[in-house]
Structure formats: structure tokens, C-alpha cells
């Protein structure tokens, strides 16, 4: 079975229900040489992300059906983190009191509208820099950065479990659910991967394109 590697990062996904704003954001980013895709709701965003190839998501929190609450945006953010995507999420929102929820959910950066073009491009550049350096860490030194939120005062076992789950999830996602490759990357045997998948119920959580088959 051929080895799978992380697809080359090639694009930015702009998620905003406002068509006009999506268009101008895309134009702004494209004028800087970025490849941009657009999504107007959570489902479209997930469809794009499952196809892979994004380094960055520019996310508005107010998405349908509840455009006037941040629920859908936070839900998508949680999904992205849970899926273990190695991309950076910049939240671009009109609400100022959602920073805590976004950063807790794993957003890389947080901007409040209206931002200037310079601020937006600066944030995008920073995010891409971090993304590229994390990719380099992984490829050159086999070091993977993971982000977890852990409660303190409950011992260290939950911390270990969360880190283990996050890492396994990310590697499985990166290898497109290739058990052999995942085992190789993690320095484990296949049986260990199956055990961890069962332990953290990863079969059901991970959503991959239906035409992709796991390699066993």
C-alpha cells in the first residue's frame, strides 16, 4: 500500500453566510496570491474540509440557521479541532464577547469586524507561518504539535488520556485512516491502533469521504 502523506496545504476556506462579505474577503486574499474556497454554512464548510487541502479557515461565528448567535460557528470550530485537522482557524466576527469561547475551542486568532485589510492579511500571514512551521516540525523532526484543554486539580490521568486521544485522532486523520501508516507514524503496532480506536470510539467520530477505504 502506498504511503499517504499530508496533502500540500493549498488554500484558505472562507466561511461566512454574507455573500457580499465572502466575495470581498476572497478577492482580498486572492489578490495576495492565496487560493480561496467559500462556504456559507456549517455543512458546506465540512464538505470542503473533508476534501482536504486547507491550511487556514476564516470563520464567521453567526451562521445559519442561527445567524444571530455564535452557536453554529463554535460548533464548526469544535468539529475542526475534534477531527484533528492541522489547520489554523481565524475567527472574524462582529461580536466582542465571544473571544473566550473561541480561544477555548481552539481558535488560532480572533478578529472583530470591521478589520482593516492590513490587519486581516497580517493575521492570515501569521497563521500560515505557524501552519508551515508545524508541518516542518512534523516532517523533519517527527514532532507533532497538539492542543488540549485540560482541567487542573483532577490529577494527570485525564491529561494523558486527552493528549493520547488527540494525537491518535490527528494521525488517523492525516493518514486518511490508514492503520498501517498511522501505526508506523506513532511507533506502535496495528493492534495498538485498533485498541486505541476502540478506547476512544474513533470509528464513529471520524468522518471521511465514503470512497476512501482504510488500508489493512
Amino acid at each position: 500500500m502506498s504511503e499517504h502523506s499530508e496533502p500540500q496545504a493549498k488554500g484558505i476556506l472562507v466561511v461566512d453566510d454574507d455573500l457580499a462579505l465572502r466575495a470581498i474577503l476572497s478577492m482580498t486574499l486572492e489578490s495576495e496570491g492565496c487560493l480561496v474556497s467559500q462556504a456559507e454554512n456549517v455543512e458546506q464548510a465540512k464538505t470542503h474540509l473533508l476534501q482536504g487541502g486547507f491550511s487556514l479557515v476564516l470563520l464567521d461565528l453567526g451562521l445559519p440557521p442561527n445567524e444571530h448567535t455564535p452557536e453554529q460557528g463554535i460548533e464548526l470550530l469544535n468539529w475542526i479541532v475534534q477531527q484533528g485537522y492541522h489547520l489554523k482557524v481565524i475567527v472574524l466576527t462582529g461580536q466582542e464577547d465571544t473571544a473566550y469561547a473561541c480561544i477555548k475551542a481552539g481558535a488560532f486568532d480572533y478578529l472583530t469586524k470591521p478589520v482593516s485589510e492590513a490587519q486581516l492579511l497580517n493575521a492570515v500571514q501569521r497563521a500560515q507561518l505557524f501552519y508551515q512551521q508545524h508541518q516542518r516540525m512534523q516532517q523533519q523532526e517527527a514532532v507533532q504539535a497538539i492542543h488540549i484543554n485540560v482541567p487542573i486539580g483532577e490529577g494527570v490521568k485525564p491529561v494523558r488520556n486527552q493528549a493520547e486521544e488527540t494525537l491518535v485522532r490527528q494521525v488517523l486523520q492525516a493518514t486518511q485512516f490508514n492503520i498501517n501508516e498511522a501505526a508506523k507514524r506513532l511507533g506502535l503496532r496495528r493492534e495498538n491502533i485498533y485498541y486505541l480506536m476502540k478506547k476512544y470510539d474513533l470509528n464513529k467520530d471520524l468522518n471521511f469521504c465514503s470512497d476512501k477505504e482504510s488500508d489493512e
Partner: protein, 385 residues
């Protein structure tokens, strides 16, 4: 054995038979009595809970209507002082306060924004299980009152939060517009080739109609929320109210003259609420009458008032069922479809202008119509002149 001895034995035998019988009957009676008291107590507790549910945890109605249940179990009096969303009232049930022993009272005092309640429940002089039953019943009643107040406060608080959130997201639309314009401006500055120009024009062709719609919607929202910053202008009340009534298809009979400098949009909202209240709860066949006049309160012009009386004849009206405490209470309505916010908001809006609104009292109603004063329902509004 002599006859006397035989008689004694017979008497003793009867005594030995009757004694346990009497004791048994006595015990049985006590048990029956206690069982009966217990059933009464349980029944009264159930009545309290059912009453509270039937009244939808309405605080004031529950305090009023629970008294018959409490008084059946040696509650001597209930005295309450209530400050309810700006309206004051006192509730007195049972014995007058000078006949009461303060040491026999169970008291609760609740102080929250907009709501303050001081309630004392007095007990009759009873002992034993009767005292216990009375105390438990009173404690249950007081706990239900506290619980109901907490629900009411939460209800108002949650709705206020929702309204604030809605306002925040109205600002969100505005920020989206500003973001679009800001980035468009940057793109316009960059255009330096026909291809870029074409691309920008195509973007504008698809985006501007959407932006225009959003701007219109945002402007509409801002118009209704900017009442605090609205400009003040002179309003001639008879003329202005006549026009307003016509635009709302309200049959209004005007008298008197008065005018002053006020916020037109605030006043419009006040009178629209009032007209809607008459439309929803008044008499469809009777006109709404309105009198306005200038009231000189003292030597200084600053204390002068504009007084507007708005009222309607409503046949079949039960004056004793009207209470300004309930009418101005938020989320209290007799209408199935209404929110119960109209009069509450009216009073809040008038408060912003240092104005007041009150239900017409008996004397004011008699001044309006001596013969049919009991059929009149309305309000008196006092605005600073």
C-alpha cells in the same frame, strides 16, 4: 362465699372487661383523630401545590388565594408589603396587626432589583401536633412564594438578556456592512489594470444589491432602537394625537389643549402601546376619549405639568379586578396572544422623559363621568411641561 364477695367478683369481672374496652376505644379514637388530622394536613398541602400550579406560579395571586387554606390551619394573619416593578401594595389577611404576637410570626424578606417583598405570617396559639402542622404549612407556603419570585425574576432577566443579545446582533449586521466597505475601499485603491477593474465591477454587480438590502434592514432596526437619541421637538397634542389615531384607525374623541417639547418617537411608542391596549382589552364599539391640559402646580414654571387623560367606557367592567400592580407588571396579561409588556414598556418609556402614568382612580373617574364612573377604564399621564 358470701353474696357480697360474689357481687364484688362480678363487679371486678365487669371492670376487667370494660377497662381494656375503654382504653381500646380511647386509643382508637386518638388514632382516628390523628389519621383525620393527617389527612387534612396532606390535603391542605396538596391544595397549596395545586393552587400554585393553577396560578402558573404567579406570586401576587398565590399570596391572595392561599389565605383560605392557611387560615383553616390556625394561621391568624398574613401581612405583606410588596414593591412590585415600581408599584406598591399591601396585603392584609386575617387579624389586624395590633392583635398579633410578633414571636408567633414566620417572616420572609426578599429584595431584588424591581421586586421587594416583606411578608409575615402569624400563627394562632396552638400546641402539640396542631402547632407542628401549622408551622409546616406556613413554611411550605413561604417557600413556594420565594420560589415563584425567583421564577419571575429569572423570566424577566432572561428576556432582557435576549433583547440585549438581539440588539448586539443588530450591531453585528452593521459591522458586516462596515467590513465590506472597508475592504472594498482597499481593493479600489489597488486597482491598476483593466482586468482588476473588471473583476471588481463583477464583484460589485453581485454584491451591492445584497449590501443594499442589509443596509436597509439595519437602518430600520436602528430607527426603532435609537429612541434615546431622537431629537426633541414641539408637539401640539390634540393635532398630533388626532393624526396618530387616524393612521392607526383608532376612533378617538379629543378635548383640551396642551403642547410641549418632547421626543416624538418615544411618545409615539407610548401612545401606540396605549391604543393597542384599548384595542386588545377594551370595548370595540366605544370610542377612546382623551383630554389634555396644562396643569400649574406652583409658582415655578419647572413644576408645571401636561396632563393627558385617556379613557374609555367599558360596559361590564369589574373595577375591583383592576390593579395597577398587575397592569404594569411585565409578562402579565389576560390575553392569550399578548406578551404582557405593553404597559410595562409604556411606563419605562415615560420614565425616560421624567413622566408618569397611573391607572385612573375612583375620584378621577367620577370627575370624568359622575353617573358611569364605574364603567370607565383609563390612565392619567403626567409629562413635565
Amino acid at each position: 362465699m358470701s353474696l357480697v364477695d360474689q357481687q364484688l367478683i362480678i363487679d371486678l369481672s365487669w371492670f376487667m372487661v370494660l377497662l381494656p374496652l375503654v382504653i381500646g376505644l380511647g386509643l382508637f379514637s386518638v388514632l382516628v383523630y390523628l389519621a383525620h388530622r393527617s389527612r387534612q394536613f396532606t390535603h391542605s398541602l396538596e391544595q397549596l401545590y395545586r393552587l400554585n400550579q393553577t396560578l402558573d406560579q404567579d406570586v401576587l395571586s398565590f399570596i391572595e388565594q392561599a389565605w383560605p387554606i392557611l387560615s383553616k390551619h390556625h394561621s391568624l394573619a398574613l401581612h405583606a408589603q410588596v414593591d412590585w416593578y415600581g408599584e406598591h401594595m399591601q396585603i392584609h389577611k386575617g387579624a389586624p396587626s395590633n392583635d398579633l404576637n410578633p414571636s408567633s410570626a414566620q417572616i420572609i424578606h426578599i429584595q431584588q432589583p424591581d421586586v421587594e417583598l416583606h411578608l409575615a405570617l402569624y400563627r394562632d396559639r396552638v400546641r402539640g401536633e396542631q402547632r407542628l402542622i401549622t408551622e409546616v404549612l406556613q413554611k411550605t407556603f413561604l417557600q413556594l412564594v420565594e420560589h415563584n419570585i425567583s421564577i419571575k425574576i429569572n423570566q424577566v432577566f432572561l428576556t432582557q438578556q435576549r433583547i440585549e443579545k438581539f440588539q448586539l446582533f443588530a450591531q453585528h449586521d452593521l459591522k458586516n456592512l462596515m467590513q465590506f466597505i472597508s475592504l472594498l475601499n482597499d481593493q479600489l485603491r489597488r486597482v491598476d489594470s483593466p482586468e482588476q477593474c473588471d473583476k471588481l465591477i463583477r464583484l460589485l454587480q453581485s454584491s451591492v444589491p445584497i449590501v443594499q438590502q442589509r443596509a436597509q434592514r439595519t437602518l430600520q432596526q436602528l430607527k426603532t432602537t435609537l429612541s434615546g437619541h431622537d431629537k426633541y421637538e414641539y408637539i401640539d397634542f390634540p393635532t398630533w394625537l388626532e393624526e396618530l389615531a387616524q393612521s392607526l384607525d383608532v376612533h378617538l374623541v379629543l378635548s383640551g389643549e396642551a403642547g410641549g417639547v418632547y421626543s416624538r418617537s418615544l411618545l409615539k411608542e407610548v401612545f401606540v402601546n396605549l391604543f393597542n391596549n384599548f384595542r386588545d382589552h377594551g370595548c370595540a364599539t366605544e370610542p377612546i376619549k382623551l383630554q389634555c391640559r396644562h396643569v400649574n402646580q406652583g409658582e415655578s414654571e419647572d413644576s408645571d405639568l401636561i396632563e393627558i387623560i385617556i379613557y374609555q367606557r367599558q360596559p361590564g367592567l369589574q373595577q375591583n379586578e383592576l390593579s395597577s400592580v398587575r397592569l404594569f407588571e411585565p409578562f402579565w396579561t389576560t390575553s392569550e396572544s399578548g406578551l404582557g409588556l405593553g404597559l410595562f414598556l409604556t411606563r419605562e418609556l415615560l420614565g425616560q422623559m421624567n413622566a408618569r402614568i397611573a391607572l385612573l382612580d375612583a375620584q378621577q373617574r367620577r370627575q370624568l363621568d359622575e353617573l358611569e364612573s364605574e364603567q370607565l377604564f383609563g390612565f392619567v399621564i403626567q409629562l413635565p411641561a
